[in-house]
């Protein structure tokens, strides 16, 4: 068995009202250096973290949403978003930021990092991990 473990970061909370979303992202960025098999799950209110057009000027809190677009540079390329969670909130994939990565195994082609999955698929992804970190 290799030293590589499957790490899943589960994001169920919206951004800005609490700090969990931002501090989750800080773990992901640090964790990227450990070369594990990393996935991010966005479900329930966590899908709100990925909406496009966030502008925090009026509330005086740091806008960290651009950081999601940098994840590809850290080789974090699997962002699973639950379809049912989007739908219950009146959102569609078009309301989310475009987040991409360059696939080194495919001539550095630019590919989408966000993968919209059903609740049943999300449950299977969760069940396929070694370590689940919840935020």
């Amino acid at each position: 068995m290799s030293d590589t473990k499957k790490f899943l970061y589960v994001n169920r909370k919206p951004p800005y009202g609490t700090i969990y979303a931002l501090e989750s992202l800080e773990v992901v960025l640090i964790g990227a250096a450990f070369e594990q098999d990393v996935s991010l799950a966005f479900l329930d209110d966590g899908v709100f973290q990925l909406t496009r057009g966030q502008n925090t000027d009026a509330i005086g809190v740091k806008n960290f949403s651009p950081t999601f677009r940098a994840l590809g540079d850290y080789e974090v390329t699997k962002l699973y978003v639950e379809r049912e969670s989007l739908e219950a909130r009146g959102l569609s994939e078009g309301d989310l930021q475009e987040i991409t990565y360059e696939d080194e195994d495919d001539d550095w082609e630019e590919k989408p990092s966000i993968r919209v999955v059903s609740r049943a698929e999300m449950a299977k992804i969760m069940a396929d991990q070694d370590v689940v970190l919840s935020f």
């Binding site: 169920r12 909370k13 919206p14 951004p15 800005y16 009202g17 609490t18 329930d44 209110d45 709100f48 909406t51 496009r52 057009g53 966030q54 502008n55 925090t56 000027d57 009026a58 509330i59 809190v61 806008n63 949403s65 219950a88 909130r89 009146g90 959102l91 309301d95």
Partner: protein
């Protein structure tokens, strides 16, 4: 005599907005702040519950929190009124008391 109700949590994760809507009276105002601004999204699973009270209760949404979360005013339930922090202050003074649904 009327009350300003403030709610600050997403109605998809927490029942505070539901409870607020169940307790506010005709002529009251409900102001959604922080993560509660998602409660004003049209087309969501929460929208019909909010709309059901809109005849009797005025619905306001804190604009800075909407923008922070990337919600365009065009996505709001019809009649939901964006206000700034100055509008928040006016709502506090115009109503006889403020109740926070924490």
């Amino acid at each position: 005599m009327s009350t300003l109700h403030t709610v600050n949590k997403s109605p998809f994760g927490n029942t505070a907005l539901s409870s607020c809507l169940g307790h506010c009276l005709t002529g009251d105002a409900v102001l959604l702040i922080e993560d509660a601004v998602y409660g004003a999204l049209d087309g969501s699973a929460m929208a019909s519950e909010v709309k059901a009270r809109m005849g009797e209760v005025a619905l306001y949404v804190l604009e800075g929190d909407l923008k922070a979360r990337g919600i365009d005013a065009g996505k709001l339930i019809s009649g939901a009124q964006p206000v700034g922090y100055d509008g928040f202050v006016d709502l506090v003074t115009e109503h006889d008391r403020t109740q926070s649904w924490l």
